[in-house]
């Protein structure tokens, strides 16, 4: 059959976010994929001109509707380093706790969406049902389900007490039990393997060369995780990146599945090691100078560049989200696969387009 160019997206049933891929297909085999972005640009970075650096915390949280806490954490950690603020240790542990809770719910959300993409509706509902427990923890401890708004420059806005930590731990036990019950399905199920094994392969060399990030990179066998930088309280928490070796959609799914379990353990460690004390310090002065801040988001490395000029308005905030790093690898994975597998591969990088375009 002759060559044909097919549009994939910007509106596609497999993902609610607008990314357009121009696919060249030959006999239902994709030969080329050209991504196009720019459908949901919101201009959040530009708001630094009219919002002061404290108000920007609430704005950067809204970059992503899933890992809001981690965006804010990356931003305030950058500012704290710039302004030489020493955050109390308790705040660091709480930041780890909430960021890992965000990772758990983000991965469960993705596992559900992925299950839905290969047609397992019931598995999708199971994942989202389990996720609801994490959302409840978020709401009970911070006051909101997703945009938790706990970070401020200099620490946190709310604390958890002993009754709450006990409740969190008991809820997490249940979450772990239920996630483990899905293990045999996610890891061993024949249908899932058939749909994902060997689809969208990305070799380790290629992943590094194209600058992949997060589970997309670790699914290719590269043990690189920004949590190894030991930001917040990660310096005293045992942590080993989860990897899988094959570099296909199945590996990426496996990495995310096991990271969910790992994050449950990290929350437990953070709670166990959390010292008593203050949760915030008063910040004086204005940010001046420039700084880079990096943290690990559920989708990979998140990167903030912040430039202050000594006034309350910053000069520049540049946000690079992991999906932006994962789009070139995606374009490299697509050629050679069947058209019917494109949704699976696109979803396997866990695209978050709204945060990429900010």
């Amino acid at each position: 059959m002759a060559k044909m160019t097919l549009p994939f997206g910007p509106q596609h049933p497999v993902l609610p976010e607008p990314i357009h891929l121009s696919l060249t297909v030959e006999d239902e085999i994709v030969t080329q994929a050209i991504p196009a972005l720019g459908y949901v640009h919101r201009g959040l970075e530009k708001l630094v001109d009219i919002r002061d650096f404290n108000q920007m915390v609430q704005i950067v949280e809204r970059v992503c509707g899933i890992c809001s806490k981690i965006h804010a954490m990356c931003y305030v950690q950058g500012l704290e380093e710039l302004m030489k603020v020493d955050v109390p240790p308790r705040a660091k542990y709480l930041r780890v706790m909430w960021s890992e809770l965000h990772r758990i719910h983000s991965h469960l959300l993705w596992l559900g969406l992925f299950a839905d993409a290969f047609g397992m509706e019931s598995l999708f509902m199971q994942c989202w049902r389990i996720r609801e427990k994490i959302m409840d923890i978020n709401e009970a401890t911070t006051g909101a389900r997703v945009i938790v708004s706990v970070n401020v420059v200099g620490g946190l806005r709310c604390d958890v007490d002993d009754t709450q930590t006990r409740w969190i731990l008991s809820e997490l036990d249940e979450v772990e039990r239920e996630v483990r019950r899905l293990e045999s399905t996610f890891v061993n199920d024949y249908t899932i393997k058939k749909r994902t094994c060997g689809i969208g392969v990305l070799s380790a060399e290629k992943a590094l060369e194209l600058g992949a990030a997060g589970p997309t990179l670790r699914g290719s066998g590269v043990a690189q995780d920004m949590r190894q930088l030991k930001y917040a309280a990660f310096d005293s928490i045992d942590f080993e990146p989860v990897t899988a070796l094959d570099g296909d959609s199945y590996s990426r799914m496996k990495v995310r599945y096991y990271e969910t379990l790992q994050s449950i353990d990290l929350v437990r460690q953070a709670i166990a090691k959390m010292p008593d004390g203050d949760i915030a310090v008063k910040v004086k002065g204005r940010p001046e100078g420039e700084i880079l801040s990096r943290v690990e988001q559920p989708r990979g490395e998140l990167f903030y560049y912040i430039k202050g000029n000594g006034t309350k308005y910053l000069d520049r905030v540049r946000i690079r989200t992991p999906t932006f790093a994962n789009i070139p690898p995606l374009a490299a994975m697509l050629p050679g696969i069947e058209l019917a597998d494109v949704p699976i591969v696109v979803l396997s990088i866990d695209p978050c387009i709204s945060c990429t375009e900010r």
Binding site: Q58, A144, S149, C158
Partner: protein, 125 residues
């Protein structure tokens, strides 16, 4: 097959995973950040809330003693509640009910005799 039967039996006797929503409502958590309201009798119209609000949806007029908030622009972050020096701003634990027209909150209070201002003058003098 045996596994499937066990699963079916478990689901058969398990509690419902969903609620019959409008009839059965989950009680809100104690510190949920919901609807914002101003106890206008205590407000001193200092404007701290308007200054701190990240979405800049509050307007305070000191001379007219009015406090205005656009709840559709409010993001319920609670920054204003923390910023208020007299703690007259509060957040309910429930969300605002759905509305069909663009409602705003406009409240008019009375200007207080400010002992604070006098104190300031003394301090300055």
């Amino acid at each position: 097959m045996a596994k499937m039967t066990a699963n079916i039996l478990r689901n058969f006797f398990a509690k419902r995973a969903t609620r019959l929503y409008p009839i059965e409502v989950r009680p809100p958590f104690e510190n949920s950040r919901g609807e914002l309201y101003n106890d206008i009798d205590q407000c001193i119209f200092c404007g701290a809330c308007a200054l701190k609000c990240p979405s800049q949806c509050i307007t305070v007029d000191k001379d007219q003693a009015t406090w205005f908030c656009d709840p559709l622009a409010c993001v319920y972050c609670g920054v204003c509640v923390e910023a208020c020096p007299v703690h007259c701003l509060h957040q309910k634990t429930t969300y605002r009910p759905v509305c069909v027209t663009r409602e705003t909150i406009f409240q008019k209070g009375v200007l207080k005799e400010k002992p604070k201002k006098k104190a300031k003058v003394v301090a300055e003098g």
